[in-house]
């Protein structure tokens, strides 16, 4: 059984009583998650016990630091079921990872007239890098539209595949609508059409067991801070055959084999893409976060969240004037965005904050999907493993109070 009380003990920020005597009701894990004591301690332990720079150091703590860093890489490899640690590149986050693919793979493989397909619900981080590339290299950006129920228009997707795109860049879970696109059919279809697939896993990997070999994703990117780990660390998974052919991205220490005054040769994977001193302590923290998730079991985490999400959707619909954007049921993620007739999302969030309830208001770094639904902004509640039914009750009664204030 999923023991939320036991879990909450690991998150002191969620149990300390706030100004109104109630603990924080944190419903903004879609923006960033909280971190359990175990993760904070792992990073602190790194600093106070084995802190040193990694690789190249021959003294003991440097070797221990290297081992801690590389064993975090191995934990990630196993978590994703990747074939080799050479496929696991540490980045500063999802955004850097996508830009890396756009600039390195894209620079080499995309030419004027080539097509890249995105979706209408992409996060700006999986949209703007492709727009920048489109402007520089005159590639064509195609968009899979979103239907009224928040799912992708797969008929259009099939048509777009016929145009022979080089890459499909798609979020594994929308951070606004909670939509989980059918990657298990979209990826094979892309491959059949000769396209590679980059999965933006920023919302997917923290919440649902993700097996890169089952998915057969060519690239998968995600951030540590949305999955219990420190800020400042993220991952690019790429198939080894692809990464091998890609030119390096950042130049600097550690990504080289040899450097002369006017030329250099490149290091082997994964170091080729890891220039400079990486976020070492944060990588170790991400390893600890994965240990934590594995201990709970990703299937349990997903089941718990799914139950909460369906319960939330049901309760929210009882709030007068409230409209939810995105799927109302089925296999969907825990981001639930909504509007309330006549009340601005910022006012909703401010008023909920008085009750110690943290929700996000705005465009959630996904303006186009808001344009699609002709709304400037939404209020979003998003859940993670430490949330409980009590949180949902507080959210809904808070919203009813908001409605009455504006009545």
């Amino acid at each position: 059984m999923f023991n939320t009380q036991k879990i909450l003990n690991d998150f002191p920020i969620l149990t300390r009583p706030g100004a109104n005597g109630l603990p924080l009701c944190y419903l903004d894990s879609g923006a960033t998650s909280q971190r359990p004591n175990q993760v904070v301690a792992a990073a602190a332990r790194f600093y106070t016990e084995i802190n040193a720079n990694v690789h190249r150091g021959v003294y003991r703590i440097s070797e221990e630091a290297t081992e801690a860093y590389e064993s975090a890489r191995e934990k990630i490899r196993a978590f994703l079921n990747a074939g080799s640690t050479r496929e696991i590149i540490f980045t500063s986050g999802t955004t850097e990872a996508i830009n890396l693919v756009a600039r390195s793979w894209g620079a080499k493989n995309l030419n004027s007239g080539d097509r890249v397909v995105v979706t209408e619900f992409e996060h700006h981080s999986n949209l703007v890098p492709w727009q920048m590339l489109a402007a520089e290299k005159e590639i064509v950006l195609d968009v899979i539209p979103v239907l009224d129920d928040g799912t992708l228009d797969l008929d259009v997707y099939r048509e777009l595949l016929k145009l022979g795109p080089k890459l499909i860049a798609v979020s594994g879970m929308s951070n606004v609508l909670g939509t989980i696109p059918p990657l298990e059919s979209m990826i094979p279809a892309a491959h059949e059409a000769g396209a590679l697939v980059l999965v933006d896993g920023a919302q997917l990997v923290p919440h649902l067991k993700t097996d890169v070999r089952v998915l057969d994703a060519d690239f998968l990117v995600f951030s540590g801070h949305k999955m219990l780990a420190p800020t400042g660390i993220g991952v690019l998974y790429g198939k080894e055959t692809l990464l091998k052919e890609m030119p390096p991205f950042f130049g600097g220490g550690d990504m080289i084999r040899k450097v002369f005054l006017r030329s250099f040769t490149v290091a082997d994977l994964p170091y080729k893409f890891e220039a400079g001193t990486k976020p070492i302590a944060q990588a170790v923290g991400l390893g600890a976060a994965i240990d934590y998730l594995n201990l709970l079991g990703m299937d349990q985490v997903a089941a718990h969240e799914h139950e909460l999400t369906l319960r939330a959707i049901e309760s929210l619909q009882a709030v007068p004037g409230l409209t939810i954007y995105g799927p109302l049921g089925g296999n969907r993620g825990s981001a639930v965005s909504f509007t309330i007739e006549g009340i601005h999302p910022h006012d909703i969030a401010s008023l909920l904050d008085r009750e110690g309830i943290c929700v996000r208001a705005g465009h959630h770094c996904a303006m186009p999907i808001h344009d699609r639904f002709r709304i400037p902004a939404t209020t979003r509640a998003s859940f993670y493993l430490y949330n409980t039914e009590a949180d949902i009750e507080r959210l809904c009664s808070g919203l009813k109070k908001v409605v009455s204030i504006f009545a």
């Binding site: 999302p345 910022h346 008023l351 400037p376 504006f406």
Partner: protein, 134 residues
């Protein structure tokens, strides 16, 4: 924070006195808060001696930004257009009766001032007109 949604603010939001468009007008400024997509426009009719004779605002936004716009527009009627350039963030917070405000809601409260000043200085789309981080 606790008086952020005082009756008077909600009143100005629900029943604004200066909401609408002026057609024709002498001056019309608009801008937005990209954080939340809020959009605000202020239309002015100005006398020959530079006095604001009529003013109305339009657009959409949260209670704070709309109440702020209603109060700001009310306050500038009858004033010399040149004197408006010296309006400050504190003036607007005074109109709203707020002591202080978090950085995000501050942008809501100051959107009306940003529109006005951006228009007067002929710049728009820049937070730098009024330094919101000050």
């Amino acid at each position: 924070m606790d008086d952020l949604y005082r009756e008077v603010i909600l009143d100005h939001y629900k029943n604004p006195q200066y909401r609408g468009e002026l057609d024709p007008h002498d001056l019309s400024f608009e801008d937005e808060n990209p954080l939340c997509g809020d959009h605000l426009r202020i239309d002015l009719r100005v006398d020959e001696d530079g006095t604001v004779r009529e003013a109305l605002f339009s657009g959409h936004g949260c209670a704070i930004s709309q109440a702020s716009a209603d109060l700001l527009v009310e306050s500038i009627i009858g004033k010399k257009i040149d004197s408006l350039k010296t309006m400050t963030k504190e003036d607007v917070l005074d109109l709203l009766g707020f002591d202080e405000l978090g950085p995000v809601r501050l942008k809501c409260a100051l959107l009306s001032l940003k529109v006005l000043k951006g228009g007067l200085y002929g710049i728009s789309g820049s937070d730098e007109v009024i330094d919101l981080e000050e």
